[in-house]
């Protein structure tokens, strides 16, 4: 290695060091600490009873109905919202790509959900669906207590999530759409391919890498859902998600040992989801990164 190359290398690491140090200190160290805490009985209300308990916290979390129910709830919310977002987001991306009239206006208003604080949008929809305050029941001529029954509460939660995050999905997909060479579509059109055929045979296959990246990020994001559920139901009506369980055990009940076991399990779940995506669709993902 020449001295110039090694000087460049040193400078590069020097420049990256502060960012890397911050990321390691605030994530790697605490997750290690969480792992340590999760092997101990450590309740802040009874700190003198702290002791090493091995895997006992994991056994009690994995043996409890609450964890599995929360995991199922989280998966229901994740799958439902990400599926709808993908379809809606794709339609929106096509709209922004194709619309001749008011294209700028659509691109502008679509950023409004992105700019709204999640807590605020969750509250806005909560009030909208509220039986005494809201306009939804009046509009649909219903008498429904949306947030006090499980499935209707899921509906409101997923609906709010979709409202808030579809624009982001649409923007990602729009970026992918603009990368498709338009000559291909024009040529297919000349050859007599219908709009639907062009979508299925040309657009979708070329969009695959972008779609997978967008799906991965939105899935992980949806799996961590906390704000909307906490604001709308606080986990009542059997709508608790894993993040809400973690928060309740850690911060509301101050049981750091048990709560850290939940934290570590959430971390492992996220790891599994990412690995599934990367293993299952590794090639297209790295292809998308290289662009």
């Amino acid at each position: 290695m020449t001295s110039r190359a090694s000087a460049e290398r040193r400078l590069a690491w020097l420049l990256c060091a502060p960012a890397l140090a911050a990321m390691l200190l605030v994530t790697a160290y605490p997750i290690g600490y969480a792992l340590w805490l999760s092997l101990h009985r450590y309740d802040l209300r009874f700190p003198q009873q702290s002791q090493f308990v091995g895997l006992a916290n994991y056994i009690s979390v994995l043996g409890s109905e609450v964890w599995w129910q929360a995991l199922i709830n989280t998966l229901i919310i994740t799958v439902a919202s990400v599926t709808v977002e993908l379809v809606l987001g794709f339609a929106l991306a096509l709209l922004m790509f194709k619309a001749t009239l008011g294209r700028r206006t659509v691109r502008t208003v679509i950023l409004i959900p992105y700019a709204m604080i999640t807590v605020v949008s969750a509250l806005a929809w909560k009030f909208a669906f509220d039986p005494t305050t809201g306009f939804v029941n009046a509009l649909l001529d219903l008498d429904q207590a949306w947030l006090s029954e499980r499935w209707s509460a899921f509906f409101v939660i997923v609906f709010s999530e979709i409202w808030k995050t579809t624009p982001f999905m649409a923007l990602l997909l729009l970026a992918g759409l603009t990368l498709i060479p338009q000559d291909l579509n024009r040529a297919a059109r000349v050859d007599g391919a219908s709009a639907w055929q062009r979508l299925i045979k040309i657009t979708l296959p070329l969009m695959k890498p972008t779609i997978l990246v967008a799906l991965l990020f939105r899935t992980l994001d949806a799996f961590r859902i906390f704000d909307t559920v906490y604001v709308q139901t606080r986990g009542a009506a059997n709508t608790e998600t894993v993040s809400v369980v973690g928060y309740n055990v850690l911060i509301a009940r101050l049981n750091l040992g048990l709560g850290s076991a939940v934290s570590v399990l959430i971390f492992i779940s996220v790891l599994i989801i990412s690995l599934l995506f990367i293993k299952g669709f590794g090639a297209p993902l790295s292809q998308a990164r290289r662009k």
Binding site: A5, E8, R9, A12, W13, L15, P18, A19, L20, A22, M23, V26, P30, I31, Y33, A34, L44, A91, L95, K98, A99, L101, G102, R107, T108, L111, I112, Y114, A115, M116, I117, T118, V119, V120, L123, A124, F127, T133, F135, N137, L171, L174, G176, F217, L220, F223, R224, F226, D227, Y230, Y247, I251, G259, S260, S263, I266, V270, S274, A288, K291
Partner: protein, 275 residues
């Protein structure tokens, strides 16, 4: 004919999208302007307008404090995050070094990291070292969790810069310092500004750290404060106050986002797809 039909179809679709995006905003504004007696009238448009809710939230100590905390914390976190990200993005874009893949992998890992996994340890650490319920206690996690977004966005922008221009300026006799500040910095400024807006919005939006790591007006930010608003009596729902507070924190961000709409779209998509 078919072309015309397509235009009509996409325009109709566009109108639906606009309604979709605007309804919750219009609804929360409408709620905030209703008189307290009208809050339960289930009407989308208020029958009479009153600013009582706004007066109430600014007379109370809690909301102005939260607004100040939110603004200060988000601004400091943004400044630090962008500063660190600029160094890293410059190295990623301009320098050849082995281990670049590792830096990128680390950044990707942080962007996938679930924050709920570390709120317990941070809560305990902050309590022990005295950062609990302080500005620094929130600035540190916000700075860290926005780094991936900032690094991706900045690298995408930096890649487009005509870096060779500074060489020609130096041939013309400028010092490296002058070349950087007169040629490169002005060209990089829009990208840095865009990244800063995205990071600021992220920090402004956070609820999980804000509820877990604060407990009083000393550092509680707006999202947490709104979620824990209580009515003036236990029988009165604070719906009107919540709505007014929501409008106050939402409108400025919407205005900023709409003003810089084009750049934000570029930043979001560049950061996420090309990183």
């Amino acid at each position: 004919m078919q072309k015309r039909l397509e235009t009509v179809f996409w325009s109709g679709f566009g109108i639906i999208v606009m309604i979709y995006a605007l309804v919750p905003v219009a609804w929360i504004i409408s709620l905030s302007l209703k008189r307290s007696g009208d809050l339960n009238d289930q009407r989308f448009i208020p029958s009479a307008i009153s600013f009582d809710n706004y007066r109430a939230i600014f007379e109370d100590a809690q909301f102005p404090a939260a607004l100040w905390n939110s603004f200060g914390i988000a601004l400091i976190a943004t400044t630090l995050s962008i500063l660190l990200a600029m160094f890293a993005a410059y190295a990623i874009v301009r320098l050849e070094f082995s281990g670049k893949q590792w830096v990128l992998a680390g950044v990707l890992a942080i962007s996938m990291f679930p924050p709920v996994s570390i709120i317990g340890p941070l809560f305990n650490l902050w309590r022990i070292i005295g950062l609990f319920d302080t500005w620094a206690g929130l600035v540190i996690p916000y700075m860290t969790f926005t780094l991936p977004l900032a690094i991706w966005t900045l690298s995408a922008f930096f890649r487009e810069l005509p870096w060779d221009l500074d060489k020609s300026a130096r041939i013309d006799g400028a010092t490296p310092f002058q070349a950087f500040f007169h040629i490169i910095a002005p060209l990089a400024a829009p990208g840095v500004f865009t990244a800063a807006i995205l990071v600021f919005i992220f920090a402004w939006n956070d609820f999980l750290f804000a509820t877990s790591l604060t407990s009083t007006n000393a550092a509680r930010t707006v999202p947490a404060a709104i979620a824990f608003f209580t009515g003036s009596s236990q029988f009165e729902q604070p719906t009107g106050s919540i709505a007014a507070a929501s409008v106050v924190v939402t409108l400025p961000v919407i205005v900023i986002v709409l003003l810089f709409q084009k750049r934000i779209v570029a930043g979001l998509t560049a950061g996420a797809v090309k990183g």
